[in-house]
Symmetry: C2
Subunit: 257 residues, 2 copies
């Protein structure tokens, strides 16, 4: 059954379990004739009779995007699944790159991006409200941009006093990168700044740790960890109901009412 | 029926219609004995027998947070509803501010933040993938921070070459603010930079407009508009299937593969 042929839906599964899936995403997954995605993400999607699955490795984003476009161009109803939000450091950008560089027919396809909860939002929800005020999101993935640009962005983020969300903090190719990032931020921000490491949020092996910028050990961040570094206003507030304090950033900037 | 007494869930409804609600949020809304929120957000929640509704004005975030905490402290199962993601420029930070300043018993409450799709993500999904690479989110709401801080953040965001999401671009109190923001960014960024105004995304009156930084008229932004300003890498790509081009930011930074 192919209710909506020739459609490519880029579907955000959210982080972790099924609790953060939107109803729009659920419907697109149910309607699809073909599911395309990185194997562990496909595993998170309920199996349905008659759907074809095309699992791929994590390293081949562009190949995966092209396969999804090819299938849609052949009249299939394709769901390309992505963890988190496909629009945030994920598959949607790869698809539009493929469209621009690829087969001209692809530019005429019906492509839909279905947003989802991104890792920083799930991490923030567990912690309290660290993203309650101005923030930035930076991917430390080193194969996609030169270190000089990353360094410039980290310095500017500190100067702007943004709350900073670091995605992909530990790369296999350059494990030192998260240490270099912390060194830059430590030179520019107070040692008291609240910091959090949120690993595998929403999964069975979820682990969340809070610290200060001075005391934090960046070595604990792996590829499943989202790192949050507070602004000058971000605070810990004691919680009587749980082990860790709340971490939040007030809506107003210090010195103001 | 009060399955989980003495709980405060801060629930993200997502922007626009019900399609972006998560299943976790749906369950919390169904279980609540009391719903608290800004009246138009409460209107978006399905009515259920026996649930009490406490609607308030938009201006009284702290009062609303305190009412929700008070009800939870009296053993009610409270859902405090928020548009978008309650953790992003929304109610969660107000709740933790109220907890820290208020009744000591509040610190012992079971408080849960339920993330949702935020306005910038819904806007990005409609546009293509403008948040595909490093970005920042800045609220122009002027009553919560001095203009000097906003100006510093806009300059740093331009220097960092972040994609920039502007929330609350047009304040009733200072309508000139979005014009000042554009003036700062125009002095620091290329006039060709893709810009988008995404109004009421997901609602019947949704309206999306793309332009360049040089040609854009910031006067069209109102309080329901999310403004996106690209990085140096953000591009338009022609779409054969719709009127507007796609707007996206490639995953890799220019000059790199």
């Amino acid at each position: 059954m192919n209710e909506a042929p020739g459609v490519l839906s880029i579907v955000g599964l959210g982080p972790g379990g099924p609790q953060w899936l939107t109803s729009e995403a659920q419907e697109a997954l149910a309607r699809a004739s073909d599911l395309v995605g990185y194997a562990p993400y496909l595993e998170r999607v309920e199996r349905r009779e008659g759907q074809r699955r095309h699992a791929s490795d994590n390293r081949v984003e562009m190949e995966r995007a092209r396969l999804a476009l090819e299938l849609a161009a052949r009249g299939r109803a394709v769901a390309l699944v992505s963890g988190g939000d496909p629009g945030v450091f994920a598959m949607a950008a790869a698809v539009f790159e493929a469209v621009e560089r690829g087969d001209r027919a692809w530019a005429g396809l019906d492509i839909r991006v279905l947003p989802g909860v991104s890792a920083m939002q799930a991490a923030a929800a567990r912690l309290g409200a660290p993203l309650g005020h101005d923030f930035c999101a930076i991917s430390l993935s080193d194969n996609l941009k030169p270190w000089a640009i990353l360094e410039r962005r980290l310095r500017a983020a500190a100067q702007a006093d943004f709350v900073i969300a670091l995605y992909n903090p530990a790369s296999r190719a350059r494990p030192a990168q998260i240490h270099q990032a912390f060194a830059i931020l430590r030179a520019l921000k107070s040692g008291d700044t609240p910091v959090a490491f949120a690993r595998a949020v929403g999964r069975a092996d979820e682990r969340i740790l809070v610290a200060t910028l001075a005391s934090a050990d960046p070595a604990i961040a792996d590829m499943s960890t989202l790192v949050l570094i507070g602004s000058s206003q971000t605070r810990f507030a004691p919680s009587g109901a749980r082990e860790r304090p709340w971490m939040y950033t007030p809506r107003s900037h210090g010195g103001e009412k």
